[in-house]
């Protein structure tokens, strides 16, 4: 992949990053109290320092500049409700857990969705295909918040198969492998619920892609060459068919995070969503804003990765 392409993509992300900073800056201005209050409520000494740092007596542009520099250096302020813990340390603690949740869900749903679509693509409109497609539609439509409750009810409470809350069992003190297994057990239900609607999306988009690709002429050419039909699917059609899938998965990351917020609440998973909600409830503005910034940046990164993966698969783009 050409270095210039990567560079260009990175540069394209800069205005978006700038935009995010502007939006959060505006939000801060809109909140009651001045900016220093918003970013550091509670701690009078820190607030005074902050006020000086933010140059609140200077024109707005300079304020924005000061704010932006602080953010890019990693200083996101101090929590107003968590004993003066720095926002960045809080995020550093909670973020990996959400990444674990979302990452697993994305990987799982993509693999299952693509595998299902490959099966269905072989025989479109067969009874199997129609059933799965209908199932996908229903899976997509059932709201995650309710699906989660159903999962808790049937897979947790009534049957006791899975733990229904938290990331680890609080009554135990596992380490090493046992700890990992404990986390995995707690991860199961949230990931299942989060992945369900994603599987539906991946399945439908990939299936549509496969159907479209198999009607293309190069597929006919491959058949005319005598290539076996399953190799035609896997070797020729799949790669092309997956292009829209890659794009869609990238698009869904934002939506996935919103879903994760709800899921974390449902299952008491201690991730960014929980951090966001509890801070919101307590009006801990510094933390809320810090979360917003980090999530927004993460989305930008996700889009970047999607585009790069796409370029990796589709050589037509790279040579532009």
């Amino acid at each position: 992949m050409s270095f210039s392409y990567v560079l260009r993509r990175l540069l394209q992300a800069v205005p978006t990053v700038l935009g995010i900073l502007v939006v959060t800056f505006v939000l801060i201005q809109m909140a009651p109290g001045d900016a220093a209050d918003t970013l550091s409520e509670g701690d009078a000494e820190y607030t005074r320092q902050l006020r000086a740092q933010l140059r609140l007596d200077r024109p707005l542009i300079e304020q924005f500049g000061a704010y932006a520099t602080r953010v890019l250096r990693g200083d996101l302020g101090v929590s107003s409700t968590q004993n003066g813990r720095s926002v960045s340390s809080l995020i550093a603690e909670y973020l990996p857990r959400t990444v674990l949740l979302m990452g697993t869900a994305v990987v799982l749903s993509s693999l299952v969705g693509i595998a299902l679509a490959a099966r269905a693509g072989r025989r479109p409109n067969s009874p199997l295909d129609s059933t799965v497609s209908l199932g996908a539609l229903v899976a997509y439509a059932v709201p995650a918040l309710w699906l989660g409750q159903l999962a808790i009810l049937f897979l947790g409470l009534r049957t006791g198969w899975f733990p229904i809350g938290g990331m680890t069992n609080p009554r135990t003190d596992y380490t090493g492998l046992e700890h990992i297994l404990d986390v995995v057990a707690h991860l199961a239900l949230p990931v299942l619920v989060l992945a369900t609607s994603e599987v539906a999306v991946v399945y439908r988009v990939t299936r549509a892609g496969i159907l479209q690709e198999t009607q293309k002429e190069y597929v006919r050419t491959a058949l005319a060459k005598g290539v076996r039909s399953d190799r035609v699917l896997s070797h020729h059609a799949m790669r092309n068919a997956l292009l829209p899938t890659v794009t869609v998965i990238g698009t869904r990351v934002g939506f996935l995070f919103s879903g994760a917020v709800v899921i974390e609440r449902l299952f008491a998973w201690p991730g960014m969503g929980t951090l966001l909600i509890t801070s919101a409830e307590r009006r801990d503005r510094p933390v809320v804003l810090g979360v917003v910034l980090v999530v927004a940046f993460a989305l930008v990164v996700a889009t970047l990765i999607t585009d790069l993966v796409y370029a990796l698969v589709d050589s037509r783009i790279r040579y532009d």
Partner: protein
């Protein structure tokens, strides 16, 4: 130029004298089911292809020429209903199970498609697509030999810098070069029969001539027979030995190229030739065939061409009876017209 090593044992000749056709199509009928009814794309097509010859199939779009060709290798969509016989080496291809048909495809009978950009996988390098044609049928070719053969094939069709061209993607080639690559791909296994479906239609006139020449050169090297499908008479005249003219899913005239173009017997053929611009023509208008090609769902009764035919005798027999092929000006020359032999003399050219 070094000769390419023959990649397979020569097939035992089933017909030492050479009077048996290599490929025999008998009463091929293809219809598609659509929401509006059945589309009869091919309505009883029969012809023979002999070893080493070039058979041109000419007709407008919708005449059934492409559909008949696709039927040979079983490349029609699932909505197609096919009846008839296509006999190749003693076997009816239409009855062949997929696995055996696969052995024929790309190896004994190869196709060259019209739109090379669409025919090639945009995400795979050209070289690997040609190599795939080889490895699909020959499993014991080493990597180096595979690469050499691929590059040689590309060079044979006249693509410059064949080695680096093999590493390129289809969209990096010009139209003519792409088409040559497709030809190389078809020739990869020295097929006995090449079916070229409008191989030059997507190209400009100069490139057309070049590509046709490449096709003919490659063909002569292996002695393959070729079915050349086109709507362009000019393409056929230079290359074909015999020609079929198709209309509305039927063969309406067939014969040696000199017979059909020198003394056309069917009014449709007459119309086609008359509408060709001619270097020696002195001004005047190009003659058109009146009317439109018929709907293949509601084919006109009797002779399908009669609504557009200037000689049609309606209602009888042209609007009632479907004309059968009968001998026209000489042996081997046939025309499906009730008025064969009774047409008024035509101005030639």
């Amino acid at each position: 130029m070094a000769r390419r090593a023959v990649s397979r044992c020569p097939l035992p000749s089933t017909d030492p004298v050479g009077t048996q056709p290599l490929l025999a199509v008998r009463d091929l009928r293809v219809r598609f089911r659509t929401a509006e009814g059945f589309v009869q794309a091919a309505a009883g097509v029969s012809y023979d292809l002999f070893g080493g010859e070039v058979l041109g199939i000419v007709g407008e779009s919708g005449s059934g020429k492409t559909v008949s060709a696709m039927a040979i290798l079983g490349l029609l969509p699932a909505t197609a209903e096919v009846t008839g016989e296509i006999v190749y080496r003693g076997q009816d291809l239409l009855d062949l199970p997929t696995e055996e048909l696969r052995q024929v495809r790309g190896r004994r009978i190869a196709m060259v498609f019209q739109d090379a950009l669409a025919a090639l996988n945009p995400l795979h390098r050209v070289g690997s697509q040609i190599a795939e044609a080889i490895t699909t049928h020959q499993h014991d070719v080493g990597r180096r030999e595979l690469r050499d053969r691929t590059v040689q094939l590309l060079a044979d069709v006249g693509i410059p810098n064949a080695a680096s061209a093999a590493r390129r993607y289809p969209h990096e080639f010009s139209g003519g070069m792409r088409q040559r690559a497709v030809i190389a791909m078809a020739m990869a296994n020295d097929p006995e029969v090449i079916i070229a479906d409008e191989p030059t239609t997507a190209l400009d006139v100069t490139t057309q001539a070049q590509v046709l020449e490449v096709l003919e050169t490659m063909r002569r090297r292996t002695g393959s027979a070729m079915v050349l499908i086109t709507h362009n008479l000019g393409v056929v005249t230079g290359v074909a030995d015999r020609v079929l003219v198709m209309y509305a899913g039927k063969v309406v005239e067939s014969g040696a190229i000199g017979q059909v173009f020198g003394e056309p017997a069917h009014p449709y053929t007459l119309g086609l030739i008359g509408s060709m611009p001619h270097l020696e023509q002195e001004g005047g208008r190009l003659r058109r065939i009146a009317g439109h090609p018929p709907s293949l769902i509601h084919v006109p009764r009797g002779c399908a061409f009669h609504p557009r035919c200037p000689y049609a005798q309606v209602p009888a027999p042209c609007a009632i009876e479907v004309p059968a092929l009968r001998t026209a000006t000489g042996p081997g020359h046939q025309s499906a017209c009730h008025l064969t032999g009774a047409l008024p003399p035509q101005p030639t050219g």
